[in-house]
């Protein structure tokens, strides 16, 4: 459930910024690096942060840097 929501948030930004859309069912999904694999810059990460905070009431960057989608999912558990 969380996995699909996060994928939707990421893809909303990818769509806006014309990055490659990601597949939440792919084997590497959880290991995708937000910056290196998806291409997010700090503004994209800020956008993702506020969408996640609005939905889950969790600030994923509050206590350190988050690098992969898997790390986001873990913070929401």
């Amino acid at each position: 459930m969380n996995k699909d929501k996060i994928a939707n948030f990421i893809n909303e930004i990818c769509d806006e910024k014309e990055y490659k859309i990601i597949d939440s069912n792919s084997a590497e999904f959880l290991n995708l690096n937000l910056r290196n694999d998806i291409g997010f810059d700090s503004f994209d990460l800020a956008h993702l942060t506020v969408m996640i905070e609005d939905e889950f009431d969790v600030d994923i960057f509050e206590d350190g840097i988050v690098l992969t989608i898997g790390e986001i999912i873990k913070k929401l558990e």
Binding site: F43, A46, H47, V50, M51, E53, D54
Partner: protein, 239 residues
């Protein structure tokens, strides 16, 4: 437009609120105290003036109290940082506790509010505006105001860099550099001291708060869409 305004209960804050309300904006006002003037304004603008009593020296609860409760579901178009306290003394008498208290209200809380205001704008895809009220004392020295001026100088630097950082998303940040007004904040000055200050201006008089309020109303509109990262002097031509 939905505008968050700090220091709404008296002085310049009241003038800014009146100007924004008269132009049809919705004001979300913060203040430590409630005043008779503010109560009267609320009676006239029951729907468009929303008030919260909050002490800005408490920067830890800004997100919880202001953004998650008071501004819940509000799409913010602007943040006007007007609240400030002045610590007026010569440097050799400086007390670190009082400097800390002033910086909490004048600098740390505005930075924290800006953080959440920009987050609100990003979430709602709004090209919003941030305006800080600075002081002419940053640019022209006055005896006894070095520590207050330092807090306002910090805000000017913060505003310039905010503008640079978020300009590509259409979020603008500017400072109004206010000259001396005849408000409660300067009430401890004698007439002689005030006249000495006014004599350093081209117009030889206090700044009219209405002039600042109308400049702010202009800055939050699309008419000012290309103005960002600026210090705009409304100071009776201080020289």
């Amino acid at each position: 437009m939905n505008i968050l305004l700090t220091g709404v209960s008296k002085g310049l804050g009241l003038y800014i609120a009146m100007e924004l309300l008269d132009k049809g904006h919705v004001v979300y006002g913060l203040s430590r105290t409630n005043t008779e003037e503010l109560k009267a304004l609320k009676k006239v603008h029951t729907k468009n003036l929303n008030l919260l009593q909050y002490d800005l020296s408490d920067y830890d609860n800004i997100q919880k109290v202001i953004f998650k409760t008071f501004l819940r579901n509000v799409q913010l178009h602007g943040f006007i940082n007007n609240a400030a306290i002045a610590y007026d003394d010569i440097i050799t008498n400086a007390k670190i506790e009082r400097i800390n208290e002033m910086f909490r209200v004048n600098v740390y809380s505005p930075i924290n509010i800006t953080k959440y205001a920009i987050r609100n704008m990003i979430l709602n895809k709004i090209s919003g505006t941030i305006i800080h009220i600075s002081s002419i004392s940053v640019h022209t020295g006055y005896k006894g105001l070095s520590m207050y001026a330092a807090s306002k100088g910090a805000l000017e630097a913060f505003s310039k860099n905010t503008a640079r950082e978020w300009g590509s998303l259409g979020i603008r940040s500017n400072c109004i550099v206010s000259g001396f007004m005849d408000t409660e904040m300067s009430s401890s000055l004698s007439d002689e001291q005030k006249n000495r200050i006014y004599n350093r201006t081209s117009q030889k008089k206090a700044v009219d708060p209405k002039s600042i309020a109308s400049t702010i109303e202009f800055l939050i509109t699309d008419n000012a869409c290309s103005i960002t990262g600026q210090n705009i002097f409304v100071d009776s031509g201080t020289i």
